[in-house]
Symmetry: C2
Subunit: 652 residues, 2 copies
Amino acid sequence: MSDRREFHDLVSPETAHEAIASLDLAPEPESVPLSDARGRTLAERVDADIDVPGFDRASMDGYAVRARDTFGADEADPVELDRIGAVHAGETPTVTVEHGTCAEISTGAVMPDGADAVVMVERTDEVGDGTTDTTTIAIRTAVAPGDHVMTAGADVAAGARALGPGTRLTAREIGLLSALGVDRVPVRGKPTVGIVSTGDELVRPGEPLDPTRGEIYDVNSTTIAAGVAEAGGEPILYPHAGDDYDEMERLLRRAADECDLVCSSGSTSASAVDVIYRVIEERGDLLVHGVAVKPGKPMLIGRLDRADGGESAYVGLPGYPVSALTIFRTFVAPAIRRAAGRPEPPTATIEGRMALRERYGEGRLRLMPVGVLAAAEPSDGDADDPSDEPEAAPLVYPVDKGSGATTSLVEADGIVAVDPDTEYLDSGERVTVQLFSPDVRPPTLLGVGEDDPALNRLLDRLDNPRYLPVGSREGFRRLRDGVPDVAVTAGPLAREVEHVELGGWTREWGLVVPAGNPANVDGLADLIDRDLRFVNRPTDSGLRRSLDDSLDELAGDRDVARRSLTETIDGYGLTVRAFESPVRRVLAGDADVGLGLRATASRLGAAFVPLGEQRVVVRAAPDRAERDAVQELGTTLTDIDDIVRGLAGYST
Amino acid sequence: MSDRREFHDLVSPETAHEAIASLDLAPEPESVPLSDARGRTLAERVDADIDVPGFDRASMDGYAVRARDTFGADEADPVELDRIGAVHAGETPTVTVEHGTCAEISTGAVMPDGADAVVMVERTDEVGDGTTDTTTIAIRTAVAPGDHVMTAGADVAAGARALGPGTRLTAREIGLLSALGVDRVPVRGKPTVGIVSTGDELVRPGEPLDPTRGEIYDVNSTTIAAGVAEAGGEPILYPHAGDDYDEMERLLRRAADECDLVCSSGSTSASAVDVIYRVIEERGDLLVHGVAVKPGKPMLIGRLDRADGGESAYVGLPGYPVSALTIFRTFVAPAIRRAAGRPEPPTATIEGRMALRERYGEGRLRLMPVGVLAAAEPSDGDADDPSDEPEAAPLVYPVDKGSGATTSLVEADGIVAVDPDTEYLDSGERVTVQLFSPDVRPPTLLGVGEDDPALNRLLDRLDNPRYLPVGSREGFRRLRDGVPDVAVTAGPLAREVEHVELGGWTREWGLVVPAGNPANVDGLADLIDRDLRFVNRPTDSGLRRSLDDSLDELAGDRDVARRSLTETIDGYGLTVRAFESPVRRVLAGDADVGLGLRATASRLGAAFVPLGEQRVVVRAAPDRAERDAVQELGTTLTDIDDIVRGLAGYST
């Protein structure tokens, strides 16, 4: 680790932005078929090559006439003209309208020679006795030259400016280009972004994983690839480089040759970082190493030489997924958007207010990942009314305190930039959130608390909820602090918090053992009195709370302190995260007994020793009880019989 | 035309919405590779199949220890442990940490057996004299069990709910799915929408066009196809059916068999409508024919039977491009979005204020196409601040009074729904605009007036301007009425309007004749005194105004009224739309002389007879002069020498 670089020369975020702006990411413009042009950006002005329409065109069904022939005609005193033929859309006229004659014409048809106006069919009658070949038409209105005629070029004239450079092509621009007969369009190229991931431990999703070797799935490559595509770039994933210098150098150089920008994300291995340094210093130019932001300090910005003498841009992102996405979104995506000619949509930024006070004061820019709770209900168009009270602004709360957890990716909706000299953000303070993606849709309901299989199914019935399974005790604490709408608790609670009860159910809990109960576990006493390996839930969990209450009872029966019992349980302190986790450990042979639910044991094929039932209760914060999303949850809770019936040991 | 249907039974817009909602457009869910999942919507809940991480993982570089061994250690009194080996990321540990020992470990590596905590490398020192094989590590801090260790499943536990059904997949969700090793994702299917266009006169863009037959390019098929894709559907364009009954029936039935929804757009031919009626009535079910909206009265909603016994939805759209897009956006796109599980993004709707008073009062819902002028400048995140003054709301003005022009497609940004009982919308009144597409970016500058080649190039240098070439006189009138930011005028003006002059240039105008000037045209008198076919510009044009002034002068010289001169000019009343149009008519042999610019003659290879110079002036409305976009235009105008140099007869 002696070669490890230190980030002594941190540059300011502004300098980092400038460094990226100084790199040329923009590819050559390209020509694409009109059918593929939607969403692209015009590279140059498009002028009309043709007149639209290309001919004088009837804009009504009726009769093509010489306007002069109709002068003086009215309902009382129609003019009669001889019908000399008909012109339909898509036909070349074969008649010439002379004085005293007319031709039947349909909308869209070419005006025949001689005619300069159209009389609507509704203002005409066929007359005549059928004895002659010639039909006579009574014209009951006068028309002026040009009436109901669209002259050639009246819509678009050849030579006119149709669309300017930089125009984003949506349905309507595609329509105008179609009218001009354009079938290939000059558009800004999509910057190609090569994504190189390093680290022996990374495995691509879909490939087998060996956790005993410490392998994990590669999160950053796919996340950044999706971010590149969102910003209008073309991501190219390069195979894993491992930590081999030659292989990594080969890959970086290949990516530089093939791409406008090369991104790598921070390897956990020091040697990988060293390789990147060496390659850039030998075959490129390192502009920035280290930026005074949190997170993102180890960001690299530079250039890589190409075999053809040109150069590619290079950005090195931090390794934690939320940090990588934060730095990508803040520094890299805007540069890709500029190169692609695709400005950031207004939805990428929203205004909100802090749900609680957040201290800071580290003296450098903090890009704080935040969750957003849409305060106003989605509406049919009134949502953006600027006359809304500021209180209707979405609630914003910090998430991910640098844990590196991938779940933070979906618990955070975006970033609040906190100035270096900010000491704290006050509760209620207005903040601007840069959403991770313009398509991010902040949840309309925020729930916290116990994890439970019935709850998982219930959540499926709601529109865009967010639920953080932090456990009953922590959920209750957060409900008190005012961020979530609802908390779900299981089992006994140490104290009360004001709330509105929305509903709930009862679940059976106990000890989960392998199928057939090979150790003949009979109850709680076996954990204490026999040599069994146990696996527990954390203290925030409602299951743990009920277990501890039962242990208290047993301790009372035996007239000892609970602690003297728990000390004898091998694994009492070994806690795992979710309600299925202890059962899975038991089934994997890592433990003999786990704390769990009958429903889980039943689903995963384990045996179950019941210890009791506990109530799961959904509680709303009193000031949120009237929100539409909370009301919808309450209504959904009244009809969960089918969910409860499908889970062993559950009842309402 | 006797079979022509009348729309006697107009239903309400609400009924039309309900009829479409009653149709089943939703295809089966499908499974897509993760790399193709961005932008799609999850069809079902995704639970974690694996623990993340799948092993107890070091979250720092340092030494894996038994926490108990470090109790009491501090800077003054370190504990010394024997280093028994090292574990790197991606390796299976080969050591067991016993009492008194430690193992070097890197971030991300598997915790070796026996160790329950990591001491950061920064809090350790290597000690020892190098005389033994064993390295001793001084630990300068105490750690607790679990410190700097992420336990297996601590990020995501197997069995936990990861993402709910209906989740839109953006970069961050792709990241979480990657962490779970998911490489195929169950997503909502894309509704397939077959687009059938009818009419003998329609030609696909890119194919040759015969204007003498009245052929025009098909606008609606490509526009609606792009709209379908924007809404999350999969458009399928069917070949043109022409007006042949059997062919059209075959096509409609094939489209119904292959698609969830079939759309046709109003044919201009009555027989095509009849065919559609007949096919639906024989092989389907017509739910709605005619809706009480303007435009869109002739909208059809129904079902088409499929060969396999199922059915497809059918919607018939009006024929004018803006009407077709309006009805599609209002009635059809929301149904496609629902079926695709892709809710309308908030950008699809904006709030604005009427720029002028607009009368209505027709007693049915009006879907009024409008242009939008972004009033606030694009900002770096403050644009949506709800505390902005209402005066900052974008200006909204009606466009396209049913002209059927395709240019209206890009002059309108969206639709304002005007209630049947609304008599007028007042100037300044707040209105909600449904943008045609979420990606529509209303212009930041609205200009009107003369068309000019230098102006076209100038506009290329601005960010997202809109310019309506309505002519100098009409442009000046509109500037007075308060809608545009700037008007561009050429030549003399009849009266003054208060304005701020931003800049301008001078252009040479005159008579354009075929190359070599075969008729030896010498000046204006030739038009009057000789038998030449002339082609003029409209009275709103500045070119025309200068021509008429010269004719006035000539009439004065001859002591006659101008009218007596113009009556003798063959084609004085024949006016064409754009500055190139007369020249193109001359070059096509349709006229001997055209009114035009030296620059145009030079560009298109015609000869030119100069008549004078006229000044082109860019004028800003006084209340808009301080807007950023207007200031940018002013700055751009100070540096147009290169543009002017490139145009014959131009000077600044």
